[in-house]
Each structure stands twice: as structure tokens, then as C-alpha cells.
């Protein structure tokens, strides 16, 4: 009987020693990194493809109206001011070497939210909230020229193309991305890349210089945004975050306006005033 016994054996041989939590965190980090790289590649690829769409096609899709979904009321503002914006847009566009066939359409949006944006199909919108707060035509021109530069670079359609590529693949992977898509579309379309903004700034300053002979008066735009920012308790209004403020951009504008003599080249006042309360 001495052959039959149950000696005490180590009882932990059947379980891996690795801490499941560390392993989980490592794998999750790796997966997140992978998703980020693939997502970035998809977004970039989608936006590059979208840039290949001819501008005429883009304009035919969108039509005469401001694209819906911009989060702003469709009610048009003062028609005279819109005509003024359109004339200014055309004059600035003439200085910006737009490709043949690229037409621009200005809109004056009746809302107190201070914002300006370029949308699909060459539509450029300035809101009453922003217009009222701008001290000079030079400042307004900087804003418009910046948006024209976005249209010229095809940034609006590139943003949509990138998000579309991302959402398409996400819906293929998850089967049904309808829950995710809305949330992600908001995140993705939040703004253009820093590089696109910088390029647009550079082009806008250039256009300003050609049109007025100097690049002064532009920093007023940033001062306006800064005032709004403090008025909103330090937090920028959601729509403003599409044009992030940073010291770098202000510094570049000041540098561009360095040789400007305010006495010899006075700022042009806005031709029309929005008198609505």
C-alpha cells in the first residue's frame, strides 16, 4: 500500500504568473496605438482623395445654399451687408490666385455667435456676432481671406473626405457604427489641422498686404476673440474652437504688420454697420 499516496504538490503550476491587469493595460495601449495609426492613415488618405474631386463637382453637389449641419440658423442676415461681404470676398479673391472656375459665395448669418467659416462648395459665412465686433474692414478682410485660403486649399472637402473614410471603415469593423458615427463626426470635423490653419493664415496675410498695401489691423480679430473668451468665463464658445487661438499666430501677424505706419496708412472703417440691437 505504500505505493499509493498523495504527496503535497505545488498548487500554482496551472495558472500563469503574469498579472492580468498589467497584461490588459499593455494590450489595450498597443491596440489604441494601432487604431490611432490606422485611423490617421485613413483620415489622411480620405482627405487626399477628396481633394481630387473637381471643385465644379463639389459646387454642383452643394448648390447655392450654405451646407446644412453647420449648427447655425439658416436665416440670412442683412442683405446689404451680405452684398458688401460678397464684394469684399471677390476683391480679395482676385489677389489670391484662385484656380480657374473656383467661385466664392459670401453669406451673412443672423446669429450672435461670433464665428466665420468656409463650407463645401465655396461658401463663406460670417456671423453677425463677429461682424459687429470687428473694428475695421482690414480685420474683416483678414477673416474672409483666411476662409478663402481654406477653400483654395480644398480644406472643407478634405475634412469631409477624411471623416467619411474613417467612418466607413469603422462601420465595416463594428457592423453598425450608427451609435459611434454621430459622436465621431463631431470630433473629427472640429477643425482643420494646425498646418492647414497656418497655411491659411500665411495666405490671408499675403492677400491683405496686396489689397491694402500693408497687413496692419489684423490682430484686432484675435483681440475680439480674446475678449469673447474672457466674457464666456475663460472657456471659448464651442464654434470658435475651429479657429484655435495661440500666441504663435498672433506673433506672426504682428511680425507681418511690422513695417506698417498707422498714420500714413490708416485702417479702413467698415462700410456698413449692423444696427440691429
Amino acid at each position: 500500500m505504500s505505493r499509493y499516496e498523495n504527496p503535497q504538490l505545488p498548487d500554482d503550476v496551472n495558472v500563469g504568473r503574469e498579472n492580468p491587469l498589467t497584461e490588459f493595460l499593455r494590450l489595450a495601449a498597443g491596440l489604441a496605438l494601432l487604431a490611432l495609426v490606422i485611423g490617421a492613415a485613413l483620415y489622411f488618405g480620405g482627405s487626399q482623395l477628396a481633394r481630387l474631386i473637381p471643385f465644379e463637382t463639389e459646387r454642383d453637389w452643394v448648390g447655392e445654399r450654405l451646407a446644412p449641419g453647420s449648427g447655425l440658423p439658416a436665416a440670412p442676415g442683412n442683405a446689404e451687408i451680405r452684398d458688401y461681404l460678397q464684394a469684399l470676398t471677390d476683391r480679395l479673391a482676385a489677389q489670391m490666385d484662385l484656380p480657374a472656375g473656383m467661385t466664392l459665395r459670401a453669406h451673412y448669418v443672423d446669429t450672435e455667435i461670433a464665428n466665420a467659416f468656409a463650407s463645401l462648395g465655396g461658401h463663406i459665412a460670417v456671423t453677425r456676432g463677429l461682424y459687429r465686433r470687428l473694428p475695421s474692414e482690414n480685420a474683416l478682410s483678414l477673416v474672409i481671406a483666411h476662409e478663402i485660403a481654406h477653400v483654395r486649399a480644398r480644406d472643407p472637402i478634405a475634412g469631409i473626405g477624411g471623416s467619411a473614410a474613417l467612418l466607413l471603415v469603422m462601420s465595416l469593423v463594428t457592423g453598425d457604427a450608427s451609435a459611434l458615427s454621430g459622436a465621431f463626426a463631431g470630433v473629427v470635423q472640429r477643425g482643420y489641422s494646425r498646418r492647414a490653419e497656418t497655411a491659411a493664415d500665411t495666405r490671408a496675410i499675403d492677400a491683405l498686404r496686396r489689397h491694402y498695401g500693408h497687413a496692419g489691423g489684423g490682430t484686432a480679430v484675435f483681440k475680439t476673440f480674446a475678449q469673447l473668451r474672457t466674457a464666456h468665463g475663460g472657456e471659448p464658445p464651442a464654434l470658435l474652437s475651429t479657429h484655435p487661438l495661440d500666441a504663435e499666430r498672433i506673433a506672426r501677424l504682428q511680425q507681418a504688420a511690422a513695417g506698417w505706419d498707422a498714420a500714413a496708412q490708416p485702417l479702413v472703417p467698415l462700410r456698413l454697420v449692423d444696427e440691429r440691437p
Binding site: 505505493r3 498548487d11 492580468p20 489595450a28 454621430g182 459622436a183
Partner: protein
Amino acid sequence: MELLIQIGFFLALLVVGLVAGTLNERRHYRRLREDEAALRGILVFNERRPPDDLPLRTGQLVVGSVVIGEDYFKRIAASLKSLFGGRLVVYESLMDRGRREAIVRMKREAEHLGATMVFNVRFETSSLAEDGTGRQAAFSAEFIAYGTALVPPAAA
């Protein structure tokens, strides 16, 4: 915002699963060690026949069974690991606990009968995860250990 709430829920469940699951597992292992020490007197073997020179005893079937379920953390950690492959450590401990608990329960039944040995011990494991709808329900597994307890005539 909606996405943030969803992510928040997910993370909360993950933490609950991790904390509760880890505490549970630790407590189970502690009890297992105590039970195993207490039942060391009952010998178990997987040989089909008792040795011929063993004094005559009656044989009786003894069964120990247990069902163990996963926690939310194990579930997510395992599905993440399944993307890359390799050992599923989170399930290794679950299966280990199940097998040992089944043996403990079987031994306890043998002890009840007054037996000191169990021969021909076998294991069965079955997953209760499939609910037939194709959707992955919470994973749980049943572990059965059974064998022939040899009961001395006096005790039987």
C-alpha cells in the same frame, strides 16, 4: 457626450469586475487551500482498478461539481487577448479553481461515506456560454469530478 457616458459606463463595469473578481478569486483560493489541507486524508487516484492486495471494500460513485462564471474584467481582457492570441491567463485561474473545487467537493462526498480513497477519478468540463443565438453570453463553465470511492465494510 453620449460617447463619454458610454465609455464611462464601460470603465466603471471594468473596474467593478476587476475589483470584485480579484477579491472573489483570492477568497476562493484561500478557502480551497484550507479545504484541500483538511481533506488530505482522502486519497484520489486516476487508476481504473484498486490494487489486488487491498482488503475488500465496497465501491461507490462519488461526484463533485461546480459552476464558475467570469467577471466583466476577465471577459474584456480575454476578448482583447484573443485579438493577439496566446495564453488566456485570466481564464487559467478560473479553470484551475473549478477543477480544484470539484475535487474538493468529491472528496467531501467520499468523506461522508467514510471512504479514504477514490479510484478512477475523471474530469468533465463543459462550457455554458453558448445560448444558441450566436451571441456570446457571459462565459461560465461546469466542472465535474467523479470517481469510485472505496468504502471499508465497517463504515458502509
